[in-house]
């Protein structure tokens, strides 16, 4: 069973929670140090991030570019809004497809959880274009739709 939970909240948000076996400080650093972000924020198999700009300060720029052999690459740009070291990050991001999608505001909170960290990330439901890009970035294996999650939607 995955340690990740993903739920819709109200009509606008997706809330993701995940536990990590490391301190909030370490998990926070992995979200704010471009050399680290570049190593893990890659989504489905087969993608890499040759460009990773991550200026972790209020107003600092974000630019992540992903590429995968034989597929059109894409990138996001954004800005950091608020940073409380080891506790909380608020940023906005836009996907470029190539036209930018509306801004997605993402709040990521790191809470001590025993010897590890509970991360809670709340993001805005993306529009159709952004969803399409995410679906086409590698999800080509036939997924059996699970109607169990119907409960989450209603």
């Amino acid at each position: 069973m995955s340690k990740l939970t993903l739920q819709t909240e109200g009509d606008r948000f997706v809330v993701v929670t995940r536990r990590f076996a490391a301190s909030p400080e370490a998990v926070y650093r992995a979200h704010t140090d471009p050399k680290l972000v570049q190593k893990w924020l890659l989504g489905p198999e087969g993608w890499s991030m040759p460009v990773c700009i991550c200026e972790a300060k209020p107003g600092g720029r974000i630019r992540y570019e992903w590429v995968s052999p034989g597929k059109p690459g894409f990138h996001i740009t954004g800005e950091f809004l608020e940073l409380e070291p080891y506790r909380r990050i608020v940023h906005v991001e836009r996907m470029h497809l190539p036209d930018p999608t509306p801004e997605n505001r993402v709040e990521t909170v790191f809470t001590p959880d025993g010897s590890g960290t509970l991360m809670t990330m709340r993001m805005t439901l993306p529009n159709e274009q952004a969803r399409a890009a995410m679906c086409s970035s590698g999800m080509e294996h036939g997924m059996e739709a699970s109607y169990a999650r119907l409960e989450l939607m209603i």
């Binding site: 370490a26 998990v27 992995a30 995410m134 679906c135 119907l150």
Partner: protein, 115 residues
């Protein structure tokens, strides 16, 4: 490949009354009268919500004499679930990589001792 959820599906789900109607229909088929009963809302207002849900493909209606009972159309939820699956899958793989990275960088001293 996962088909693209149309905006109408998310728009239809964006309304509290419509989500309540869907929750009610999860119990089984119901007529407009039955659906309207728990709501402080006129039947035409409920019918309007049902129209939105029907156009989004989330419910289907059949004709039974003068009644048009509604039920959930589970296929209509498939694009939403597929999109959530794709998001979940991408995030899961990213965070598995992060687990490995955190384990690597956590205790360099302990690692050295083991060698």
């Amino acid at each position: 490949m996962a088909s693209v959820p149309s905006n109408s599906v998310f728009d239809a789900l964006a309304d509290g009354t419509r989500r309540a109607i869907l929750a009610q229909l999860a119990q089984g088929e119901a007529t407009v009268m039955e659906i309207a009963a728990p709501f402080a809302m006129s039947q035409p207002a409920i019918s309007q919500h049902l129209k939105v849900l029907e156009e989004a493909g989330l419910i289907v209606r059949r004709v039974e004499g003068t009644k048009r009972p509604c039920r959930l159309n589970l296929d209509g939820f498939r694009p939403v679930n597929e999109w959530l699956d794709a998001l979940r899958d991408g995030l899961s793989r990213s965070y598995e990589r992060l687990d490995a990275l955190l384990a690597e960088t956590k205790t360099p001293q302990a690692k050295r001792k083991r060698k």
